[in-house]
Amino acid sequence: MSDDRPEITRDEVAHLARLARLAVTDAELDLFAGQLEVILGSVARVSEVAAADIRPTSHAVPLENVYRVDEVRPSLPREAILAVAPAVEDDRFRVPQILGEEE
């Protein structure tokens, strides 16, 4: 299956960049198209391993999901959080408009 190389076009990069909220430039589209194709072609090797009945791993030591004790603890002070925010208004994060004019 190693000939199953994904072809990454400029349009595909533009689509990925849109999904990832990256306003990439034209020059980057050209650069990344070539690089992503090489990288994805190389990592596609994982498909060579037959692993249908193998379970996935994400931790070295099996852990059980547990709920922590429901204790009330002080959170960080609001001023400390807002002091490092990019824009603040009336004690809240100020956010650019969410809905466009046409909506």
Binding site: L22, V49, T57, P86
Partner: protein, 518 residues
Amino acid sequence: MTELHQLSAADTAAAIAQGEASAVEVAHAHLDRIDRTDPAVGAFLHVDTEGALAAAAEIDRRRADGQPLGPLAGVPLAMKDVVVTHGVPTTSGSKILQGWIPPYDATITTRIKQAGLVMLGKTNMDEFAMGSSTENSAYQLTRNPWDLGRVPGGSSGGSSAAVAAFQAPLSIGTDTGGSIRQPAAVTGIVGHKPTYGAVSRYGLIAFSSSLDQAGPFGRTVLDTALLHQVMAGHDPCDATSIPQPGPDVVSAARQGARADLTGVRIGIVSQLTGASGGYQDGVLARFADAVALLRELGAEIVEVSCPHFDYALAAYYLIAPSECSSNLARFDAVRYGLRAGDDGQRSLEEVMSLTREQGFGAEVKRRIMIGTYALSSGYYDAYYGQAQKVRTLIAEDFRQAFTQTDVLISPTSPFVAFGIGERTADPMAMYVNDLCTLPASLAGTPAISVPCGLSDTEGPALPVGLQVMAPAMADDRCYRVGAAFEAAFTSRHGAVLDQIPDLGELAMAAAATKEGQR
């Protein structure tokens, strides 16, 4: 006489405890060393002179009051900039966090403060820890103190360079695919990646959550173990933190220093010894010497095969980008960090896209897009899902190998430090630096890198690292074997770091070369 900045962490703590030097004097000695050498090395993004001197003065006050002090009280430390530090700038090497002053401490920051360590400042790194040379930092290059024209490894290159340049006896790095071990190897120091879950990730700026693990750097195995002991332990703030106590790595390092490995079974992984991957001759020669020396110490050497290690690179470069594309979604220009293009007209989505375009560097964008691709509907099973299964197979290879061995060894990296700019144009050429370190990352198992000599096949004499890998929660074996090797090597050849060129002369030579090129 040995100057204060040349002492090991253990000797520094002893000198302070016995009143031979004050913690403030020790801090000054290191801050002066940073002043003199960092214009050439570039290890630090931020030096916290005031904070360091205040922390040191507090240790001196506690000592004067007769309060008990920990085994590293007053010892200076350099912190990788991916670790959140209350009141001290933290950027993770990215422009998107330029000027951010965290309102809280990471758990490991709290732990080093409680242990009385003196944080000198924050060290340079590849942006969000993505890289193997520290060249992906948005701020500056860090130069290898062995040869200022070469990289210090990465992504924890500021932390490795600081310790190798005697700017700090200890530093903290993080290792996702090799980012502690590889920089330790190429700068001639010791670096350990703990078992995943042994050290809290609370307050590490996340890159790949199922792989990220913080760990210690030092110039000796014992120093590294002393810092490990301070960092490790269960933390309820990190859901992946292991709720059992870890092994006593300091005792293991002291036991190892007796240089007796009688009865210890050491496996050489045939997949990591140069059949493919472009290993340099000098690296393979030092590795062969290391094997011979371990045998002399009484170890039983066997060869083991771990066939799925050949898929580690592919699996890693799917898992890490996938998880990073998800983790870095938090940089949305709303709650912290940069906001670009907010002119009152643009929508949140446009502002977000402009901010991320401006705030992230090329490697970060590449990985976010790879991850976005690999996680997209229709591809998830073939890429991320399959890569997580490869992890299981790699872990199974380790389990098999550890039925007949106590530890596994390999070179830490196929290469010695390479030249600045040599590999930046080709992402895959950069990725193969992690060839030997990736299996332990994917299995979540511990591994240490200890210096095993110099190679001069690539020009100047440059350090080579020996990697020692152990089963999960058996970090003590890494320290025992590492310390035994270090003791035996040093008694025969002297410490590797003793051969580092004088930084003043290096800086002058570099300036002269630059002059000659004009």
